[in-house]
């Protein structure tokens, strides 16, 4: 034994704790699998193949990609300031409205040629993303920053307030009913079929937009200076400050990132579902938040994974049980996760955990 340095102790986890960790993680996976497995078995019995379930899952992944984009915003913000940004779902809705309006302004129609369409949509994507990103930053500046030291209830209420304001903006903008978006990409047309499962233009759109964004995000957070700053601030703001990180700027940047993703999600949603509605943000927000929690709040990859999983569950529920019951099922999952395994599938990465 040498100096006063603390010797490394052999690590031993009590058997009880190890067991509990496994049980809860596999328990979560198990209850997530109940619906698909049950309906899979039913399909095999009824039709002899799994193509309906596979289609459900394929649709679920596409929808899920949209939820994942929104979930990223929730998870990054919660990770860094432990705030549930209630207004985030409605930000997505604004993104979809902006897209809808710009489609009209730019003059894209189903008759537009492919090249024009590509260029136009890319332009709209950028505008929607930047618009929502900026809006998110403004909301943080006005509503959350002044309340950073207040009891948690305060910014939560402000968030709800902004949610209502944004919903009203949507209501005034396009009224209370659903609005059809021109089916620019012919979202229901099949591109090709894989193992009996039709893959539509809409699916490809979701894939083509979200995958690069996710790759970019993950790399950015992992490698870039700002990404490091974000992770450091999430773990320990005091220490981050002491290391010379401008916490305020980092937080603003986090909101910007979340907003950018929400804007992108808005455009994809508008084109994929060919529908926009002022109230879509509320449900989308709760679904995306469920996704974020399911994957592990604060955990970026978790949000992406959670989004995809929730998308599948939602699709199965819509298709088999009925769309009116889907929110109940999603919320039930949310409650179960928060109560029994709040760290989600991949584990939390927030102040308390870190």
């Amino acid at each position: 034994m040498e100096s006063a340095s603390i010797p490394v102790r052999p690590t031993r986890r009590s058997r009880g704790e190890v067991a509990r960790e496994y049980v809860s993680r596999f328990g979560l996976i198990a209850i997530l699998l109940i619906l698909p497995v049950a309906y899979g078995i039913q399909d095999l019995q009824d039709e002899g193949n799994l193509s309906r379930l596979a289609t459900n899952i394929k649709d679920g992944l596409s929808n899920g990609a949209i939820w994942a984009l929104i979930a990223v915003g929730y998870t990054l913000v919660y990770g860094i300031i432990e705030l549930i940004n209630f207004a985030h779902g409605d930000l997505f809705m604004i993104g979809s409205f902006v897209s809808y309006a710009l489609i009209g302004t730019v003059g894209l129609t189903t008759a537009t040629g492919n090249f024009g369409l590509l260029f136009g949509l890319l332009l709209i994507l950028v505008i929607a993303m930047v618009g929502c990103g900026t809006l998110n930053v403004m909301i943080e500046r006005v509503g959350y920053r002044p309340l950073r030291n207040a009891p948690k209830l305060a910014p939560l209420i402000t968030a709800v307030g902004f949610s209502f304001i944004l919903q009203n903006v949507g209501l005034l903008w396009l009224g209370g009913s659903h609005h059809g978006v021109p089916d620019l990409i012919e979202s229901q047309n099949d591109f090709f079929t894989v193992l009996g499962v039709p893959v539509t233009h809409g699916d490809i759109l979701a894939l083509v937009v979200t995958v690069p964004l996710f790759i970019f995000l993950v790399t950015f957070i992992a490698r870039s200076r700002m990404g490091r700053a974000m992770r450091a601030t999430a773990q320990d703001p005091q220490a981050a400050r002491l290391m010379g990180i401008n916490v305020d700027t980092t937080i603003s940047f986090t909101f910007l990132t979340g907003g950018l993703m929400a804007g992108a999600a808005g455009l994809i949603y508008a084109l994929y579902q060919t529908d926009v509605w002022f109230f879509s943000g509320f449900t989308a927000g709760l679904i995306a938040f469920t996704a974020a929690v399911m994957g592990g709040i604060g955990n970026l990859k978790g949000a992406i994974l959670g989004g995809l999983i929730i998308g599948c569950l939602q699709q199965i529920s819509d298709n088999r049980i009925g769309t009116e019951w889907t929110p109940v099922i999603v919320f039930a999952y949310l409650v179960l996760i928060l109560v029994f395994r709040p760290q989600g599938l991949l584990g939390e990465e927030t102040r308390e955990a870190g």
């Binding site: 030291n149 009891p151 939560l156 009203n168 019951w325 039930a332």
Partner: protein, 391 residues
């Protein structure tokens, strides 16, 4: 130390005139005014309508105040208890279950109608118990969660109850084929409240309604005051302040929190029975998330945990909702030469108020004397970010 914090330093003994406390005199005056108020208005007037509704909101706000204000549990799903109370009234005091034939304590006319018709005075405790049970049940999973997760879980429960209300016109979850709630169409008509020895409750004569709501509000107010200054009230506030310290002082936090949920829920349920009868309908459109926020806003506006503050907050917001926005503000755009309907802005204005309130005066109109200290420091920016370490 600034003047504000110096004032907040001591929790002063009550001021008195002779042997009677100022606050007692104040209370008596307020109650007297409330009782005599109807005599200054037409008994069927819009004002009486709004005033009655405002009193019911006072009951709900006081109930939620126990959960959020005293015990510090962020409940965003309070609408669920309003719903349970209202549906209990709808089921037990209307012709809904027309195959049954049960009548207790109701008038001649109702005696001849099919369905279950119980007197409101019987439905009231039934609904209170049902709501209390639901409250404890829904509160139970939240016991080990931290603040914002409690908010989300209770919100999810509120939504679940709301969706069940909308969808249960053809079985539940696709099981069964009975009509429980009639979805958005709802259960209507609902029996009018009928208290023996009191004038008939009709749509034209609102005075009995008003006084009944007032009585309910006074009872709930009384209960709140008594509990706040009691052993259980101190336990709630201790839990709100520092749960670890509270449990270390011997407070059985599980029981105490469940009690808060149950009592708050019971009050919401009772209010629900009244409104079910008053509105003459119980339908799923009444039970949306925004309702929970509306009641929450009342207690925040009034001052979390402050009983009179909450009463004031409830009266103010109820009045704005039923009166100011539709009647008064609606004329404003026209007068300014603008062309839109302000009722469409109701939501947004409400959201705007919430933001303004939290950023400018989070402690509310009549802050709980204790919270004054807490928020004073936030507003004066006396602290840098303090990362608290908790066991």
């Amino acid at each position: 130390m600034s003047a504000m914090t110096a004032r907040a330093r001591a929790i002063k003994p009550p001021e008195r005139i002779g042997k009677i406390k100022m606050s007692t005199i104040f209370t008596v005056i307020v109650i007297a005014v409330a009782i005599l108020l109807p005599f200054f208005y037409e008994s069927g007037s819009g004002f009486m309508n709004d005033a009655t509704v405002a009193l019911v909101y006072v009951v709900m706000a006081l109930g939620l105040n126990i959960v959020v204000g005293f015990a510090g549990l962020l409940d965003l799903g309070y609408v669920a208890f309003f719903a349970i109370g209202a549906y209990t009234m709808g089921w037990l005091a209307s012709s809904w279950f027309s195959k049954e034939d049960i009548h207790v304590g109701v008038s001649e006319i109702l005696n001849n109608q099919p369905g279950i018709h119980l007197n409101w005075l019987i439905v009231l405790p039934v609904a209170a118990i049902a709501a209390a049970s639901l409250g404890a049940l829904l509160g139970f999973p939240t016991l080990r969660l931290r603040g914002d997760y409690i908010a989300i879980v209770t919100l999810a429960f509120g939504e679940i109850i709301g969706r069940i209300a909308v969808n249960s016109d053809d079985g539940i979850f696709g099981i069964g084929h009975f009509n429980l709630t009639n979805g958005r169409a709802g259960i209507t008509p609902v029996d009018k409240i009928d208290i023996p020895l009191v004038d008939r409750f009709t749509t034209l004569n609102l005075r009995p309604w008003y006084w009944t709501a007032l009585a309910l509000a006074l009872v709930v107010l009384f209960i709140n005051f008594r509990l706040r200054d009691s052993r259980i009230g101190r336990a709630w506030i201790a839990i709100r302040e520092d749960e670890v310290a509270a449990i270390s002082m011997g407070i059985p936090t599980v029981r105490v929190k469940l009690l808060a949920y149950a009592l708050g829920a019971a009050m919401g349920g009772m209010a629900g029975t009244f409104l079910g009868s008053f509105y003459n309908t119980v339908n799923a459109d009444q039970f949306e998330f925004s309702f929970s926020i509306f009641v929450l806003a009342m207690i925040i506006l009034g001052g979390l945990g402050s009983i009179w503050g909450v009463v004031l907050g409830a009266l103010v917001l109820s009045f704005i909702n039923t009166n100011l926005i539709p009647d008064v503000l609606n004329n404003v755009p026209g007068k300014l030469g603008l062309d839109f309907d302000l009722t469409e802005l109701g939501f947004g204005i409400f959201g705007f108020l919430l933001v303004i309130m939290m950023v400018l005066r989070p402690q509310g109109l009549i802050p709980e004397k204790r919270h004054q200290a807490e928020f004073a420091e936030v507003l004066e920016g006396e602290h840098d970010v303090v990362v608290e370490t908790r066991a």
